[in-house]
């Protein structure tokens, strides 16, 4: 094999060489290339000598204090959620919701040491995460309502609903697995049923007949999943309200 040029050595150093194996084999057997590589690596090690000034553990708070007055006014989250939200608002793979971790008061892992007097409290984080699951349920509910209210005509295009269902399945799976892991049996059970219905929707043909649409509408109806999702949403909102109230009383 020919000698490696400087660019190839740089790629090797950063682990970005497509032909890494061949390059490494060559380096092992070529003193000249090895010497070049050591030279590059020594230079890059010098570059590491320049460090950025340290910022304290409360730097984020300081930045927030300077920033918050400059933020433009936005509509509340309720006003921002139209009946048929645009695609960006319904993206899949949304989140892991560590519901139980908050309900059980577990540690919210942060890269910096957590301050005891952190202004964004554990209650606020719980409220945010509960609200995130509530959003997911609301989006799922809207999709189910759309399906249930679709007129049974001869050829029904369900491509948008299918894509949405696929996105919601990913988030739902993460929420469900987390709920199972932390022992939230009730939540996990409803999410499991919801996931089955979402999968049914995701696997429908792009063009459905009236009969096929009727089938899926009856399945949604017979399982009572809409009702269960609504009830769970209400319960989560109560918990979110309680978390907000607790935060207000303890602040």
């Amino acid at each position: 094999m020919r000698h490696l040029n400087e660019d190839e050595l740089v790629l090797c150093h950063y682990g970005e060489a497509g032909e890494a194996r061949e390059f490494m084999q060559h380096l092992a057997s070529c003193p000249s290339c090895r010497s070049q590589m050591e030279d590059i690596q020594s230079m890059l090690a010098l570059v590491d000598a320049v460090e950025a000034p340290e910022r304290s553990a409360v730097y984020g708070d300081e930045v927030w204090e300077r920033l918050r007055h400059r933020l433009p006014q936005r509509r509340s989250w309720l006003q921002s959620m139209p009946l048929h939200p645009p695609r960006w608002a319904l993206a899949g793979a949304m989140a892991t919701l560590v519901i139980g971790a908050f309900i059980l008061g577990r540690y919210w892992p942060k890269p910096e040491p957590q301050r005891v007097d952190s202004v964004v409290s554990a209650q606020a984080r719980e409220r945010i995460l509960l609200a995130s699951l509530d959003d997911h349920l609301e989006r799922s509910q809207r999709l189910l309502m759309e399906i249930v209210n679709t007129p049974r005509t001869d050829s029904i295009n369900t491509s948008p609903q299918r894509s949405l269902a696929e996105e919601l399945i990913e988030s739902n799976r993460l929420y469900r697995q987390t709920a199972e892991r932390v022992g939230e049996v009730g939540i996990a059970s409803v999410l499991e049923e919801l996931e089955r219905v979402l999968m049914d929707i995701a696997h429908t043909p792009a063009q459905m007949s009236a009969a096929e649409m009727g089938d899926i509408q009856e399945r949604i109806d017979s399982q009572g999943i809409l009702f269960k999702v609504r009830v769970m949403g209400l319960q989560l909102r109560e918990r979110e309200k309680a978390a907000r109230e607790l935060a207000r009383r303890t602040s």
Partner: protein
């Protein structure tokens, strides 16, 4: 166990829905890393602080355009890099009409003045930092950005391309040019070490 990125997506979702407390969490989690990136790019502590503010303000205004499947850090870094590049371009235009401004890298150097005279090791360290600063100054803004993102932030070349709005091959060549220039600029120092 889910990654921090997955957990953060819940917070981002809430922030996009208008929850300012959730955005505050984004600010707290990302300020330090944005500052480090901004400092390495601009070489100035004050400029880096300005970049942090502008980056987070722009991120707030553009949250609706963030696609939840994308990588949030890459998206935020892209905004930070563009803010830093804008600032660096303004500084260069200002320098063309005024005296040359010296970058404020001195603030990054620990104050060894009390011991420099008696500690050759520390003197050398100060000299190394100065030479590296000077070497980075000869890079173009794009070369510097690509190099900083690869070397200090550990981003892949593909991610760097996304952050800088470049094709992967262009990002790669920016890094190559940066390393070549820095090798040339630091060769006298390297020779003294060998």
């Amino acid at each position: 166990m889910y990654s921090m990125e997955e957990i953060d997506v819940a917070v981002i979702s809430r922030a996009r829905a208008g929850d300012n407390e959730a955005f505050r969490m984004i600010v707290e989690r990302n300020s330090r890393s944005v500052f480090r990136l901004a400092f390495r790019m601009t070489g100035s502590e004050q400029d880096a602080e300005d970049v942090v503010q502008e980056t987070l303000l722009k991120a707030y205004k553009r949250l609706q355009s963030f696609e939840a499947r994308a990588n949030f850090s890459t998206w935020l870094y892209r905004i930070a890099v563009n803010c830093a590049l804008d600032l660096m371009r303004k500084r260069r235009r200002h320098e063309e009409h005024n005296e040359t401004l010296q970058p404020d890298f001195e603030s990054a150097i620990p104050d060894h003045s009390a011991r420099v005279a008696s500690a050759d090791g520390m003197l050398f360290s100060v000299e190394v930092q100065k030479r590296v600063r000077d070497a980075m100054e000869i890079l173009s803004p794009m070369e510097r950005s690509a190099f900083v993102l690869r070397h200090y932030e550990g981003m892949s070349i593909e991610e760097i391309g996304q952050a800088l709005g470049l094709r992967t091959s262009a990002a790669k060549h920016s890094i190559f040019r940066a390393v070549k220039k820095m090798r040339g600029a630091l060769e006298p120092l390297m020779s003294s070490i060998r």
